[in-house]
Amino acid sequence: MYTVVPLLILFVLSSVTAIVFVLANRLLGPQAMTPSKLEPFECGVEVYGPVRQPLHVRFYLVALLFVLFDVESVFFFPWAVILKDLGLVAGVEMLAFLLFLVGALAYAWKKGALEWD
């Protein structure tokens, strides 16, 4: 518990600092808003069309891969910590798992999931 308390205090303190900074900015800075100043920047011309629309971002497959790899790499952390004390069996099991992961990456690569288009 003693290791977490400083963290909590730090979170609180940094949030407070941030809010105080922004408030100070509000107080010190000018407040002279005009409608054209509040327009979004579109290189100096009027905005055309909706901005918050579904956008083709082309990394859907990458995002899926990320979920897989991230969840799986989480499994490695406990393993990595006690690797020194593990027997050969547990070690080999994890290596097999790692090989599976590499195989999966190779498969995704071959299937073209890593290409941009």
Binding site: Y2, T3, V4, V5, P6, L7, I9, L10, F11, L13, S14, S15, T17, A18, F21, V22, A24, N25, R26, G29, P30, A32, M33, P35, K37, L38, E39, P40, F41, E42, C43, V47, V51, R52, L55, V57, F59, V62, A63, L65, F66, F69, D70, S73, F76, F77, A80, V81, L83, K84, D85, G91, L95, L98, L99, V102, L105, W109, L114, W116
Partner: protein, 352 residues
């Protein structure tokens, strides 16, 4: 009664640490903005800031004051709550990592037993902040920047995470101090993880490259690529909210340099004869900061030398090069641990 006193002391100590760390972060981030401009200046055959204070050292103070005096704008069509919240998240996210940074053998705010894991977790909060900021701005450039940032951060988290595993494997601990303690062998120099075995050497480079990408620095600065996306996710921001992105960026440079220095370059470990010249392991602190300073300089150097990669190349570098390399490094290190238990590379030949 005694229990309360003890608790109170812990709280007091934690609060003091928090204040000290805020000062450190503000100073480090401020000084790095100065340093970046000075380094850039000298690399580009000009002088950089030299008007405010000696050698322009107080330039960042002047900049900070200026940012306080700027108008705090929220575009009319922006999603105001998200727009306001995004920068806080980025700021708090980059600030929170400071808590686990070891500044010396006995100088650390809180030595979490899951230190590196915490670092990984907290740094990915910042991406959410960037995504919020870009989405809420109601600006096409900001949206594109935010999307790029999301794609980039989630991709590069894999090589960063996997390369973090290698020091963990070698130390048997996720605590940053634990990892530094484990690098004590080989006269305090050859025991560094970067010299531990060929795979950990490779992991150092993989990890550093991926970390530079993770904090969106050139050559991977696509989310704010100014020649393509004007300013990317922070196009609409002004005043302090803009300053938060800015502070976070420079704090992050320091953070990744400290972490790389701690987990790969032996942290405060140094050849033993010099260790006890100053009390409290202060020599170690200076050594650690010096190592971090070298890495910080390299990060700045990269920015003023390299062009920017394209977004498809960015993904390619991550998934086709860094991720497989990191996985191979992890396997290699694990195999090394069984083949030569507890021995470092240079120890194979000599007596170290």
């Amino acid at each position: 009664m005694e229990i309360f006193l003890q608790e109170g002391l812990v709280l007091l100590k934690a609060a003091l640490w928090a204040v000290a760390l805020s000062l450190v972060m503000a100073l480090v981030a401020g000084f790095l903005t100065y340093l970046e401009r000075k380094v850039a200046g000298h690399m580009q055959a000009r002088l950089g800031p030299n008007r405010v204070g000696p050698y322009g050292l107080l330039q960042f103070v002047a900049d900070g004051v200026k940012l306080f005096l700027k108008e705090d704008l929220i575009p009319s069509d922006a999603d105001a709550p998200l727009f306001r919240f995004g920068p806080y998240l980025v700021f708090v996210g980059s600030f929170a990592v400071f808590a686990v940074l070891p500044f010396g053998e006995r100088i650390v705010a809180t030595d979490l037993n899951i230190g590196l894991f915490y670092v990984l977790a907290i740094t990915s909060i910042e991406t959410v902040g960037l995504l919020m900021a870009g989405w809420a701005s109601n600006n096409k450039w900001a949206l594109l920047g935010a999307m790029r940032s999301a794609a980039q951060s989630i991709s590069y988290e894999i090589p960063v995470g996997v390369s973090f595993l290698i020091p963990i494997v070698l130390a048997g601990s996720m605590s940053l101090q634990g990892i530094i303690h484990a690098q004590a062998g080989g006269f305090g120099l050859l025991g560094w993880n970067v010299f531990h075995n060929p795979f950990s050497l490779a992991a150092f480079f993989v990890g550093c490259t991926a970390m530079v990408a993770e904090i969106n620095r050139t050559p991977f600065d696509l989310p704010e690529a100014e020649s393509e996306l004007v300013a990317g996710y922070n196009t609409e921001y002004s005043g302090m909210r803009f300053a938060f992105f800015f502070l976070a960026e420079y704090a992050n440079i320091f953070v990744i340099s400290m972490i790389a220095a701690a987990i790969f370059l032996g942290g405060w470990q140094l050849p033993s004869p010099f260790k006890d010249i100053l009390p409290f392991g202060l020599v170690g602190s200076f050594v650690l900061l010096a190592k971090a300073a070298v890495l910080v300089f390299i990060v700045l150097w990269l920015r003023w030398t390299l062009p920017r990669v394209r977004v498809d190349q960015l993904m390619e570098v991550c998934w086709k090069y860094l991720t497989p390399m990191a996985l191979v490094c992890l396997m290699g290190t694990a195999v090394w641990m069984w083949a030569f238990p507890g021995r470092i590379f240079f120890g194979l030949f000599g007596t170290a």
